[in-house]
């Protein structure tokens, strides 16, 4: 009899323990969900507000009893105004030409540099790696003005300047306001935040097995062929990560384009100047809190974000997976 009671009480305590554990994990899951949702709300709130405001008319905006569901839509009006003010199509072309293409060049040229630094030992390699970290640490803004001044009289090795001094003929080209102001640094692997991209590549290349590449050398493939035929095909993950970062940074860049371009502007620049241009074109005032202007402005923001969002939605699945596998932090 006593035995039976013992067994029962034992069972009870074990079940109680299990239940308690289950309860604790349930509480934790709820806690986790609450945290994730509330911080998620902070992320989503400005975006939702932007989208809703861009859809509604000024009367709906002034109606403070309805915040999230507009009482009156003015989609066509808001978006047409923003579209015109931003000169959307030509700005999009400018973004593509200046920013996205130079991002593409950067992705390729940084891969080469990183492969060189990750795979081969050579004199001064430590020094170059230190320089690489320096380029990550020194903010782009520090060297922006001298770069801009140099671009207006581009003189790669001082030869043309010397020629100018001797003969008075100025052959130095002005590459401001042209794509070369963006492409040249990218070609040389020192474009927008190239340091970080090279660093990500290096961490990945270091983790690739060396044996395959060595076998390729033994079989007589040159270093570039090895790189193209063996290293690159197995680095899809890192290329995706780098591409996403480079494209995003270039798409959002208003710093360089603000300095280098003065005639046509990429989208990021148009968004930065949007209040100004809207004010000129539609005579709306921002400091007076003109509700009409807010609708136009938010429509402009949506127009700027949407292409990126669409691309992000397409690649996000692979992007999130690739982050698991790329081992950025080695």
């Amino acid at each position: 009899m006593k035995n039976i009671i013992d067994t029962f009480s034992n069972m009870d305590s074990r079940r109680a323990h299990q239940l308690r554990k289950k309860g604790a994990s349930l509480v934790y899951s709820i806690f986790r969900l609450v945290i994730l949702l509330s911080i998620g709300f902070i992320i989503i709130y400005p975006l939702m507000y932007t989208i809703v405001t861009s859809l509604q008319s000024k009367y709906a905006f002034l109606n403070s009893t309805r915040v999230w569901i507009p009482t009156e839509f003015a989609i066509a009006e808001n978006y047409a105004a923003a579209f015109n003010a931003m000169e959307y199509m030509s700005s999009l072309w400018s973004t593509f030409k200046n920013e996205l293409l130079s991002a593409a060049i950067e992705i390729a040229s940084c891969a080469l540099v990183a492969y060189g630094l990750a795979r081969f030992d050579f004199k001064l390699k430590k020094f170059y790696t230190a320089i690489l970290f320096l380029t990550i640490l020194v903010p782009e803004m520090m060297i922006l003005i001298p770069r801009m001044l140099n671009y207006s009289h581009l003189d790669l090795f001082g030869i043309l300047g010397l020629f100018n001094n001797l003969t008075g003929i100025d052959l130095r080209p002005n590459i401001l306001d042209s794509v070369w102001a963006f492409w040249l640094p990218s070609i040389f692997g020192v474009g927008l935040r190239s340091g970080i991209l090279i660093y990500i590549y290096i961490q990945f290349f270091k983790g690739l097995p060396k044996e395959l590449e060595e076998a390729a050398w033994v079989d007589g493939a040159g270093p570039f062929k090895t790189f193209l035929a063996i290293a690159l095909p197995s680095s899809g993950v890192v290329i995706l990560t780098v591409t996403v970062f480079a494209m995003i940074w270039h798409w959002n860049d208003s710093l360089l384009s603000g300095m280098y371009l003065s005639e046509e502007f990429p989208l990021a620049q148009q968004v930065t100047r949007l209040q100004e241009t809207l004010g000129q074109k539609y005579l709306v005032a921002f400091n007076g809190r003109d509700p009409q202007a807010i609708g136009y402005l938010m429509a402009g923001c949506v127009l700027f974000i949407v292409p990126m969002l669409v691309v992000y939605m397409i690649v996000q699945r692979w992007f999130i997976e690739s982050i698991d596998r790329v081992g950025i932090t080695g």
Binding site: G40, I43, I44, Y45, P46, L47, Y49, T50, S109, V113, G116, L117, R119, F120, D121, F122, K125, L137, V138, P139, M141, M142, I143, I145, P146, L149, N150, H153, N164, L184, P185, F188, G189, V190, I196, I198, I248, W249, N252, S254, A268, V271, T272, Q275, I294, C301, F304, I305, M308, Q316, R317, F319, I320, I323, D324, V326, G327, I328, T329, G330
Partner: protein, 299 residues
């Protein structure tokens, strides 16, 4: 003897290969990085005039620095406000992104959705558009936004702090932090990505061993996860510091940037260099202390 020679041949070959891949970058570094950097330092010590065919500058020593520190009335304010923001944002961003990454690394339903959501700031927050959005939506609570009308009716953070009867210093810290909550959460994008990548590289066998030994979740976090993340934390800290220093949302950068566009190159160079030297110095101290004391202890 022969083998050694052949080895040297391979070494030489490899070194040549190395240069084949990196020469363009080295040239680029000289032209587009080193030279402008030196020029920028020179600019900060000189007066600049823009003439046709380039610029004219003559060295004037530390005149610019004297000017900005002693005569310029605004610079001190910009500097202090930027540095305070930098100092209190950093630990909050690191802690927040680390905890979010740990949560997002767990297995639960809807994980993919939340990950996609939390990566959203990565694609937007580096851009100019976020300033506009924050200002207009009233998420930038330090500014008087448009949504005043709504927020006036809600209980504000100040009321709560008053109600709870918290001391001045702490209260101001709390109100500041909460009023910047949008800014802080939105700065966590890439940091979460980096921490997640770091968490993937923690060997699972560590956790199995600790489970066998009967460690609690808390001990697991404190003795395995946290130390394994020490290198990532350093990387994330450095990245965050650079981001915070150069963010166009800081007062100093915003003002200096508009001065630059107006064509003032000498004083702005001095302003930037002074600011970056202070921030860089603090960064150096942090990195030194971190590697010297924390990382040593864990390894």
């Amino acid at each position: 003897m022969k083998k050694q020679k052949r080895n040297r041949g391979i070494v030489e070959l490899k070194s040549r290969y190395g240069y084949m891949f990196t020469t363009h970058w080295i040239i680029g570094i000289v032209i587009f990085f080193a030279l402008p950097l030196i020029q920028s330092i020179l600019f900060s010590f000189s007066k600049i005039e823009i003439v046709s065919g380039g610029i004219d500058f003559n060295l004037v020593g530390i005149e610019n620095y004297k000017d900005i520190l002693l005569t310029n009335a605004n610079y001190d304010t910009w500097l202090t406000s930027s540095i305070t923001t930098y100092l209190y944002s950093l630990p909050i961003i690191i802690l927040l992104s680390m905890s979010l990454a740990i949560i997002l690394n767990q297995k639960f339903r809807g994980r993919l959705f939340f990950r996609a959501l939390y990566f959203l700031p990565v694609i937007i927050s580096t851009g100019a558009v976020i300033n506009l959005i924050f200002k207009t939506t009233g998420s930038d609570m330090s500014d008087i936004g448009v949504s005043d009308a709504y927020s006036a009716n809600m209980i504000s953070v100040d009321d709560i702090v008053l109600l709870l009867d918290i001391d001045g210093e702490i209260a101001s810290f709390i109100t500041q932090t909460i009023s910047k909550i949008f800014d802080l959460v939105w700065s966590c994008g890439i940091q979460i990505v980096l921490f997640l990548a770091g968490l993937q590289s923690v060997p699972q066998s560590f956790f199995e061993a600790s489970r066998v030994e009967g460690a609690t979740k808390w001990e697991e976090f404190w003795f395995i996860t946290f130390p394994s993340l020490s290198r990532v934390t350093l990387l994330v800290s450095i990245f965050t510091m650079v981001e915070l220093i150069t963010s166009e949302r800081t007062t100093l950068i915003k003002n200096v940037y508009s001065m630059m566009r107006a064509g003032n190159y000498d004083e702005t160079s001095a302003m930037m260099w002074f600011y970056f030297l202070i921030c860089g110095g603090m960064m150096g101290i942090f990195v030194f202390l971190y590697t010297r004391f924390l990382m040593k202890r864990w390894e």
